[in-house]
């Protein structure tokens, strides 16, 4: 415990006094200040707020993940090349405690920088996004727009719908949805569907029906997200007809999803930041593993390669129930489940979220592997002197 704390403190000092943490903090601050000025939205409060949140978190988290991965790979690799490992190795502190200390230090740094991002974002939404909407029509404020939602993905999950095709989704888990406190009825829900303009055509050409009632008249679209309010007691069956001349393709989380309000913006933002923190934790553990096994250049390639994989592997269903294949890929690269940032409007029940559990599990696995593999190699190997 004592040695882990010492390593955590050393990690923070290395990041701060080395100047890298100050540079990243300055970049994050600059991002928070300049992004609202350069953003081009669709003119609605909801659109602006959604765009601001997604862009802020995406850019900040991308920067943070690259930084954490680099730092985690650099610190142990440099310790070996500068021979400081010789003095660490001859102390009674175990490799596992040193690894945990390093990881904790990196995560304290990550949490601090994420807090900066969160404060900047909340400040922006409060003082800028909500203050000057370009549409004069009364509507939800920015913070109301970004309230947390519970998420009920439709089943089954066909990836594509041909022109003129029709598909029915069932929302099996609606029966388990929480009712209001008075027990009278469920809260009003909302159907959300993200489509890719390049696949679906110029605009939303979908005809939705729920419980036998046509709801197409109430469709709104913002930044590629089609939303449609549903009555409180939707029976869980939804039909979508593709009226577009092109095939509609959905992947991963873009499929129709029923949402129910579940808390305010602050709690939702906190959930998102926590998930970002877990992502950072995984990158830090992976970087430590690579940095303990290889020299910096190789370790950085491993971490960078993993990040690229996470970005480029197609979106997977968030739930492991989707199948063994999804589980297998998730086990290899859980970051693809959550990259680049969780969808704020989709609401994450973090404690139960399979993605969060996978991230935490993979982090632990990386640290265990580092402890086992790095403990087997010679600290001063490759020096025939």
């Amino acid at each position: 415990m004592r040695s882990a704390a010492a390593l955590a403190q050393l990690t923070l000092r290395a990041a701060w006094r080395g100047g890298s943490a100050r540079l990243v903090a300055a970049l994050l601050l600059a991002l928070a200040l300049t992004l609202p000025l350069v953003l081009r939205d669709d003119g609605t409060v909801a659109g602006r707020a959604t765009l601001l949140v997604r862009l802020s978190l995406t850019l900040s988290q991308s920067l943070l993940l690259v930084y954490l991965g680099w730092l985690a790979a650099d610190l142990p690799a440099r310790e070996r090349s500068d021979r400081q490992i010789h003095l660490l190795q001859t102390r009674p502190a175990s490799l596992a405690s040193r690894l945990v200390g390093r990881w904790v230090g990196l995560q304290v740094l990550d949490a601090t920088l994420l807090l900066l991002v969160g404060l900047g974002l909340a400040g922006n939404l409060t003082w800028r996004a909500g203050a000057a909407p370009t549409d004069r029509a009364p509507g939800p404020t920015a913070l109301q727009t970004l309230a947390a939602w519970r998420r009920y993905p439709g089943q089954p999950d066909p990836p594509r719908l041909p022109p003129g095709g029709q598909q029915t989704w069932r929302f099996d888990n609606l029966a388990a949805a929480p009712r209001r406190v008075d027990g009278s009825s469920r809260q009003p829900s909302e159907l959300r569907l993200r489509y890719r303009p390049r696949a679906a055509g110029a605009g939303p050409q979908l005809d939705w029906q729920a419980a036998g009632s046509r709801l197409s008249g109430a469709v709104t679209a913002s930044n590629g997200v089609v939303t449609c309010p549903l009555p409180a007691d939707t029976d869980g069956v939804l039909t979508v007809t593709n009226r577009s001349p092109r095939e509609v393709v959905w992947s991963g989380r873009d499929r129709p999803t029923l949402l129910q309000p579940a808390g305010g913006f602050a709690a939702n933002l906190l959930r998102a930041l926590l998930l970002c923190w877990l992502q950072g934790g995984l990158l830090a553990a992976l970087g430590l593993l690579a940095g303990h096994l290889w020299e910096f250049a190789t370790a950085a390639c491993v971490v960078g390669g993993y990040l690229l994989l996470a970005v480029h592997v197609p979106w997977l269903p968030a739930s492991p129930r989707a199948g063994l294949a999804a589980l297998a890929v998730s086990a290899v690269a859980p970051l693809v489940q959550t990259w680049p940032v969780p969808d704020l409007a989709a609401g994450w029940r973090l404690a139960a979220s399979p993605a969060a559990a996978l991230l935490a599990g993979q982090t632990l696995l990386c640290l265990l592997l580092a402890s086992l593999l790095a403990g087997r190699r010679e600290a001063a190997g490759g020096e025939p002197v």
Binding site: R2, S3, A5, L10, A14, T90, P92, A379, V385
Partner: protein
Amino acid sequence: MAVERCLEATGVSKQYTDFWGRPTVLAVEALDLVVAPGEVVGLLGPNGSGKSTTVKMLVDLLRPSRGSIRLFGRSPRDPLVKARLGYLPEESCGYPYLTGLETLHFYGRLQGLDGSRLTARVATVLDEVGLRAGRERRVGQYSKGMQRRLGLAQALLGQPALLLLDEPTSGLDPLGRRDVKALIRRLAAAGSAVLLSSHLLAEVEDVCDRLLILHRGRTLASGAVGDLLRQPQGLRATLPQLAPERAAELLAAIRPLDEAATTEPLISRLEAYFLAVVAAAGAEGRDA
């Protein structure tokens, strides 16, 4: 009761290999070494003779290809062993962004010290190595000598029963070397075992009780310093106060015993002369 051996290496060899596992360099071959408490043992040898490899194997930075190493009767990997060990590597390797004081606090915490015990111990070792004045400076700004002193300080933090020093006086000025040698003798007198590796013959001769001479990984000679250096057939008589004419008489008297007998003026060692000059200058400065 048998005295516990601090260090016992039996038949230790180290074969380096390349990426594919093919043997490249045989750095150490069949080394036997024992170090008892209170003993100072020197590893002597030219560059590339396997001194540093030997020390690294003893502290578990390298694994021997053959043979066994026991420290205090246990494996060098045992945390209990590491708690009783002090190690000064060949190259100074502190963290450049930490101050000297922070460095010692960091290593002290890894050693298991904390609170007032740690503070007191850090102050003691800073005094022992003469680094108190520079303790608030960043290690990156230290001179090579200061870094060496810091390295020695971290090795002493845990009050080690066995101290392994790889080139301990490298980079130190004569005054620093004298201090380190005195420190090593003090530690040995207090019961610590010291193994030091060096290629400076005078240094080893001054402080070591026993020595091993390595060459290309093999032990060429080992034993007590006095035994190894003694020449039974030769004799040296030292007469600090002798007039030249009396020296001539002495030579004439002993020439019949051996035609090769010579007399020559007594010459001081440069190190002793330098230290005397510096000490004299220091004394004058204090008087002024």
